[in-house]
C-alpha cells in the first residue's frame, strides 16, 4: 500500500524543495521534496507542527474547565473538541445517559459545526482548485476569483457557513469558543425564538447542500481520469458508526475496513481505543503516526474523515444524503473509493446529512426542553469520541479525588491521517513532478492533495487562499539555486 518515498537512500546528493507553509489549509505545515539533477523525486514528506503541549497544559486544572479550555486547540473546529471533552467528562460526573434535551442540543451543535466546517472547506478553500484547475492562474485561484466568476457559488458558501455558525451560537452561546456543553449535559436549550429563526433558513440550506453534492459529482463525472487517480493510494479506513451501523457523527462504536472494503473490526467500544490503536513517533515529524495494533506499524495505518465514514457506514439515516451515498458507492463499484479527491464528494454528502439532521432536530420539541443536566456515581476516567469534520477525534482524561486532571491524551483527526496524507503527496509527486521543471502550478498539485484531507494543521489560520508561500530549491550544500514566492495577494515572482 505505501510508497517508498518516505526516506531517500542517498539524500546527500539531492536538491531539496520546500513548500512552506502549505496554503489554504488550517494551520501551518510544510512539504519537503528531495530531487536529483534530473528532477526525479527521491523523498517527499509532509511535516506538521502540532499542538502536543496541550496535554501537559491541562494537567492540574479542574475537570469542568476542560471542555471550554480545549477549544483553544483550534479556531476552526473548537466545537469538536468542546464536545469530545464533554463526552469524556460525562463519565467523571457519572452521567451514563444524558437527558434527551442535552443529547439533542449537543447533536445540534455538532451538526452545526460539521455543516459550517464542510462549507468553509469546500467553498472557500477548495473550490478555487476544483473550478479553475490545479495549475490555473494563481492570481485568480482563490475565493476572490471564485466570487468574480461564480458569484452565486461564492455567496452560497458564505451564507451556509454563516448558518452553521448561527446554529453554534444558539447552542453554545457564541459562534466561536462558546460554553454550551458541560460535563453531564448542557447549560442551555433553545428558546422558541431561536428555534424559529433557524427554521426559517434550514430548508434553503438543505437545498443548497444538495446542489453542492451535485456540483462535485458533476466534476467527477466530467473528468473521471483525474478525479479517480489523482494521488490515489489504497488504504484501510476507520470511523465511528452508530449502534445500528448507520452514519452517526456524534456517538457509536468503532469500525474498520481493509483496503478492499472488508470489515476488520466492528462494534469496538471506543473506551478501549488503546487496545486498538498505537502511535508511532518518527524523528522527522512532530506529529505522531497512529496505526492499528493488530496490523503493526508498517501495515496498520489508516484513513479517517468523510471518505472513510461515508463508505464505512451501512446507510445514512437521512433520506437525501442516503440517495447520494448510494450513488457514491455505486460509482466506485465493488472496491471502495480510495482517491483523495473523493473526499470532496463524500464531504458534501455529509454536509447534506448535517443539514437534514439540523432540520429534523429543529422539529423535535426536546431541543426547547428544560432538563439539561444529569449525574450519577463519580468516575475517575473518561474517554470521549466524536466524528469531527476531519475525522475521528479521541479525548481521554483521568481526574483525581480533588477534581483535577492528572492525565490527558488526545488523538486528533488530522493525526490519524498523517500517513495517508504523506502517501497522497508522494503519489502526486510521482505522478506530476517526476522529471519536470518545478513550477508553482506543479507544486500546487501537492497542496491540492493535502487540502483534500482538510487537515487542521494547528490552530486558527484563516488564509483563504492568500497565505504567502515560498518555495526554495537548494543544492546539496544547502545553497539556494532558485526560488519562487507567492505573496499574500497571490502574486508570484521569481526571487532570483
Amino acid at each position: 500500500m505505501s510508497t517508498t518515498l518516505e526516506t531517500a537512500t542517498n539524500p546527500e546528493n539531492l536538491r531539496r524543495v520546500a513548500i512552506d507553509p502549505v496554503s489554504r489549509v488550517e494551520g501551518h505545515g510544510k512539504v519537503t521534496i528531495l530531487l536529483d539533477d534530473k528532477n526525479k523525486v527521491h523523498q517527499v514528506r509532509l511535516h506538521i507542527v502540532e499542538f502536543r503541549g496541550f496535554e501537559k497544559f491541562i494537567q492540574g486544572r479542574p475537570y469542568w474547565e476542560v471542555p471550554v479550555m480545549v477549544q483553544r486547540l483550534c479556531g476552526i473546529c473548537p466545537v469538536s473538541h468542546h464536545l469530545a471533552a464533554s463526552k469524556a467528562l460525562d463519565a467523571i460526573v457519572g452521567a451514563k445517559h444524558l437527558t434527551p434535551t442535552a443529547e439533542k442540543i449537543r447533536r445540534l451543535m455538532h451538526y452545526g459545526q460539521i455543516f459550517q466546517s464542510h462549507a468553509l472547506h469546500f467553498f472557500h478553500l477548495c473550490s478555487p482548485d476544483l473550478l479553475f484547475g490545479f495549475d490555473s492562474d494563481v492570481s485568480r485561484r482563490n475565493i476572490v476569483g471564485v466570487a468574480e466568476k461564480y458569484p452565486e457559488t461564492a455567496k452560497r458558501g458564505v451564507l451556509m457557513r454563516k448558518f452553521g455558525q448561527e446554529v453554534i451560537r444558539h447552542t453554545a452561546g457564541k459562534r466561536v469558543h462558546g460554553t454550551g456543553a458541560v460535563p453531564g449535559g448542557v447549560n442551555k436549550s433553545l428558546t422558541i425564538a431561536e428555534r424559529d429563526e433557524l427554521l426559517k433558513g434550514i430548508y434553503q440550506m438543505v437545498a443548497w447542500s444538495r446542489d453542492a453534492v451535485h456540483m462535485i459529482k458533476e466534476l467527477h463525472h466530467q473528468n473521471p481520469e483525474l478525479y479517480n487517480s489523482f494521488g490515489a493510494f489504497r488504504a484501510n479506513f476507520m470511523s465511528m458508526v452508530g449502534y445500528d451501523g448507520g452514519l452517526d457523527l456524534y456517538h457509536g462504536t468503532l469500525r474498520g475496513r481493509d483496503e478492499n472494503g472488508n470489515i476488520m473490526f466492528d462494534g469496538v467500544d471506543y473506551r478501549n481505543y488503546t487496545d486498538l490503536i498505537g502511535e508511532e513517533v518518527k524523528n522527522w515529524s512532530y506529529m505522531k503516526f497512529p496505526y492499528l495494533k493488530s496490523l503493526g506499524k508498517e501495515k496498520g495505518w489508516y484513513r479517517v474523515g468523510p471518505l472513510s465514514r461515508v463508505q464505512n457506514c451501512d446507510f445514512i439515516p437521512t433520506p437525501l444524503a442516503e440517495i447520494e451515498r448510494r450513488e457514491f458507492v455505486a460509482y466506485s463499484g465493488v472496491m471502495p473509493m480510495h482517491a483523495p479527491l473523493g473526499y470532496h464528494w463524500a464531504r458534501m454528502i455529509e454536509m447534506l446529512h448535517a443539514a437534514e439532521m439540523i432540520k429534523d432536530l429543529l422539529h423535535d420539541d426536546a431541543i426547547t426542553g428544560s432538563e439539561l443536566m444529569t449525574s450519577g456515581v463519580r468516575g475517575i476516567e473518561g474517554v470521549g469520541v466524536i466524528e469531527a469534520p476531519r475525522g475521528t477525534l479521541i479525548h481521554h482524561y483521568r481526574v483525581d479525588e480533588n477534581d483535577l486532571v492528572t492525565m490527558c491524551n488526545l488523538i486528533v483527526s488530522t493525526t490519524h491521517n498523517n500517513q495517508a496524507m504523506n502517501e497522497a503527496v508522494r503519489r502526486v509527486a510521482q505522478q506530476y513532478l517526476n522529471g519536470h521543471e518545478i513550477t508553482e502550478g506543479l507544486l500546487n498539485h501537492i497542496e491540492v492533495a493535502v487540502r483534500a484531507f482538510d487537515p487542521c494543521l494547528s490552530c486558527a489560520t484563516h488564509a483563504l487562499g492568500k497565505m504567502p508561500l515560498e518555495v526554495e530549491v537548494l543544492n546539496e550544500a544547502g545553497e539556494q539555486l532558485s526560488s519562487l514566492s507567492r505573496s499574500a495577494e497571490g502574486v508570484v515572482c521569481s526571487l532570483n
Binding site: W64, E65, V68, V93, V182, P183, K188, N402, L404
Partner: protein, 239 residues
Amino acid sequence: MNPDKQTFTLDGKTIPFCNGQTIIQAAMDAGEYIPHLCFNPEFKPHGSCKLCTVKADGRTTASCTQFAQDGMVVESNTKEINDERRVLLQMLFVEGNHFCPSCEKSGNCQLQATAYELNMMSPHFDQFFPDRPLDASHPEYFLDLNRCILCSLCVRASRDVDGKNVFALSGRGIKSHVIVNAQSGQLGDTDFAGDDKAAQVCPVGVILKKRVGFSVPIGKRSFDEQPISATPHPVVKEA
C-alpha cells in the same frame, strides 16, 4: 451647616452625602459609578487597587478612602483619569494569569467587566506569567491564585464577618500573595466553609465553588445583561 444638605459635585452632577461617607459611598448611593476593585460597600475600605482614583478639588485621591466634603468638586470620568485606570488594569492583567476565554468567572468577573468598561483592548505590557498554585484540597471550594489581584476582600470578610482569619496577605511587592491559615498551606486544612462570607466576595475567579464551572450560559451572566457601570453595587451571581 445643615448636615443633611451637604453635597459635592461628581463630573458636574450634585451628589448628597452624610457625614463620614467617602466619595465612592455617596456616589454609589446616588447611583453613580466610579470604577473600583478592592472596594466593596460591605467592608472597610482597603485603598490598594487605586482604580477608584478621582480628582477632588484638583488633588488626586482614592475615592474609597477620601471622605466627601461639602462643596467638593470631584472629577472621575475624564480621559486623563480613565487612561491611568486603564494602565492600572493592564498591570493587573499581566501580573497574574488571566485567561478570560477559559475562565469560569468570565462574564461574572469584576476585573474583566471593568476592563470592558474602560475599553482596555490589550494587556499592552509583557506578561509576567507567574507560577502560582491551584489549591483544590477543600471538598467544596478551590483557589486558583493565578487570578488573584490582592484586593484583600477575602481577608476582610473572613476576619471581620466570619471571625475566622482564614485568609491573609503575605510577602511584599511583587511577591505579595494570599495565604491560608493552615500549617499545610492548604484550604482543605483550614476551617473555611462554603457559607462563609469569604466564599462570596472574591471579585475575580480565585475563590470558586467546585463543579459549577460553566453552568450559566453566555447571555445570562451578570455582565452579559448590563455593563458594570450600570450595576453600582455589583451583585455577582452565584450559580
